[in-house]
Symmetry: none
Subunit: 402 residues, 2 copies
């Protein structure tokens, strides 16, 4: 359903919706016919919610298509990821709290190691620790390019973000990261004439920055990629009438949430318990809560099947803290699958659980797992259906037509 | 997912994909609540693959829409059959090895029997045997129409194909087959002014041909239909990066495969075993293998429920020959349903089985049959999702977005 149509159906309500996303939740068995990570985990609370609620499985983009984190979250938030594109640079920048407004151009930066001829010997500067890299980024703050304002911020380890602000900037600029070692970083090249001004300014920025860091022990070179501007997404308040809060520990998810107009709630600590505590703290102030839980994905990418299962159990154990808030609608799902077996994001459908004590129709499923979800009452749906379903079960939508 | 997007996500891989299509596979029980042809068949190999793999059911075009063979295969190959249209004439011609290039116009020809006034008495010339009809077609090779080149080729029994090549030809020409007996064949009429030139040339061809065959005992008349040109489809190499091979016995399926750039592999014999032997012979040379098995459809059209079931069992028994090649992805499905009970193609969803030992997510289904497929892990999908799913499970697609 188009956002414009949803918007016209909105009705006021005091109901509260929680969208809890366990990143990379979907999995695969280690052996044909076996259980997945989620199916292996002992999850009494989620199973109880599954029994009372409705299960389904979501397709993040289209069948067979593996999503990156940006498109996967856009889809869950109801924005067609084939229409809206958040560049990596923008995501990275907003994720560490650097504003990217319309007309700005953001890029993701990587420190690298180069030899005396400027040839890249390590694309990640020996995976320089965050505390060392942060000091190098601090030195780059003095770089000034005429006619524009620049802001640079450390992200994590060898990664940083640069944002350029001024008139006439366009983001169609090629990556300077050659993606291989043994060659020098590339020059920032415009993909069209309108972007030549920005490309030229970024090359000036790079030249000055390179001069400043040339004697660093590890991070003596840099590359930029993912040049992008603000994606111009309508806000959650505009399209859904929701005062929306984001509870997330990782920068990227805070970033994409901010781009759709969510308030970013500070979290003391990094555990699920900490996230739920942050949510409880602001429960009265918002209608919608996006809770992002990262470690399911990290464990999957590590190939740690048992660790992913065990982590899911810790999330389940934390559920009482969330449930005692009495949400009207609670969705538990993932943004995509990250099977430990594959160690990467995958295209497999994603388990989806919607619990709404007043409005959910139970199916016959009693466990929160891939097989039960494949047989759930929602069937196989697009991740883009999550928000309309959440609003409906929260009684926040009028009927369509007379 | 658009083909253009798929193309941008392709990544190199050595993996091999087999798409095995049992024509008209889907069926119906003879009595309410009974088993279908496929459910009746004893298929231990396919059931094992179903247990390890993922099931689903495909919609060839849209729910309720019965496809012809051309659109059904286009859809399985990932080409939207509501966008791309292969005319029957083109299919018929390329199916017997007559090239149809852009700008050519092809038509399907039927011999018929006519009385002394030219009135059709039998639309299929008494189902004249192939060896007799072939001789009549040979006589037609002398027909010459000024300004164009024509090629005529026998297809099967009363059927033949004509292709006209030259400048300024357009295929919007009405059938000359009136679809009933008791009237004369129609004149080839253009649907628009641009096609009048071609219609006139075909009428000249028909007049000369009619003169040549007027004294034949059975095939003393003819009709043309399905005027069409090359559909201009992008090739499997272009859109999927796949070296693709077609293993099919029937002309039409070889034809549609050739139109999407597959190499046509010669098959010694006509059995499934023969087809698998042909596939094995070229296993090293290709990435993708389309295997077409016709008799499921023929038995369905004959209303032969038991025969269709029994034939499915012979296919199952041949599976070891295919499995010993160790495909990375094996899809077993149909292009549409042909229930023996209805004796024609139908709109019912089509059983779909994807087996991929390294990447498929098992569901709880253990039998390859319509009921299990309806409850499978893929849910109900478009036949157009088959290729993206095949590529994904073969690890031939990068992720979409960062």
């Amino acid at each position: 359903m188009s956002m414009e149509t949803i918007k016209h159906l909105l009705r006021p309500s005091e109901s509260k919706i929680v969208l809890m996303v366990m990143d990379g939740l979907g999995g695969l068995p280690l052996e044909p016919g076996g259980l997945t990570e989620l199916e292996t985990a002992n999850t009494p609370y989620m199973d109880h919610l599954a029994t009372e609620g409705t299960l389904g499985q979501t397709i993040p983009i289209r069948p067979g298509i593996t999503p990156g984190s940006g498109p996967a979250h856009l889809s869950l938030f109801g924005y067609d990821p084939l229409v809206y594109d958040i560049g990596r640079g923008t995501l990275e920048a907003v994720g560490v709290g650097v504003k990217v407004n319309k007309g700005d151009v953001a890029a993701r930066g990587n420190f690298c190691s180069v030899d005396e001829k400027g040839i890249i010997t390590d694309r990640r500067a020996g995976r320089i620790p965050s505390d060392e890299a942060e000091k190098v980024v601090d030195k780059l703050k003095v770089v000034k390019v005429p006619g524009v304002e620049t802001e640079v911020r450390h992200v994590k380890e060898y990664r940083f973000a640069v944002v350029m602000r001024g008139e006439g900037l366009e983001p169609e600029v090629e990556d300077t990261d050659p993606q291989i070692t043994g060659v020098a970083p590339l020059t920032a090249r415009a993909r069209n004439p309108k972007s030549e001004y920005a490309a030229g300014l970024f090359n000036q920025w790079i030249a000055q920055a390179q001069q400043i860091i040339k004697n660093e022990p590890k991070a003596n070179g840099l590359t930029l990629r993912g040049f992008a501007t603000h994606p111009g997404l309508a806000s959650f308040m505009d399209v859904y009438g929701l005062r929306a809060a984001c509870v997330a520990v990782y920068p990227m998810y805070r970033g994409v949430s901010e781009l759709v107009g969510m308030d970013i709630i500070s979290v003391q600590g990094e555990t699920t318990q900490d996230e739920f505590a942050a949510l409880a703290r602001v429960w009265k102030d918002y209608d919608f809560f996006f809770v992002h839980i990262k470690k399911t994905d990290s464990k999957g990418e590590d190939g740690d099947f048992a660790g992913k299962s065990a982590f899911i159990e810790t999330v389940d154990a934390a559920m009482p803290k969330l449930l005692e808030l009495n949400p009207d609608v609670l969705i538990i799902t993932g943004d995509h699958s990250t099977p430990a077996r594959l160690r990467v994001h995958s295209w497999h459908p994603v388990p989806f659980l919607l619990w709404a004590p007043a409005t959910a129709r139970p199916d016959d499923q009693t466990r929160f797992g891939e097989r039960d979800c494949a047989h759930g009452g929602f069937g196989t749906i697009s991740a883009m259906d999550a928000m309309p379903l959440a609003l409906a079960h929260a009684l926040r939508l009028n009927k369509y037509g007379a």
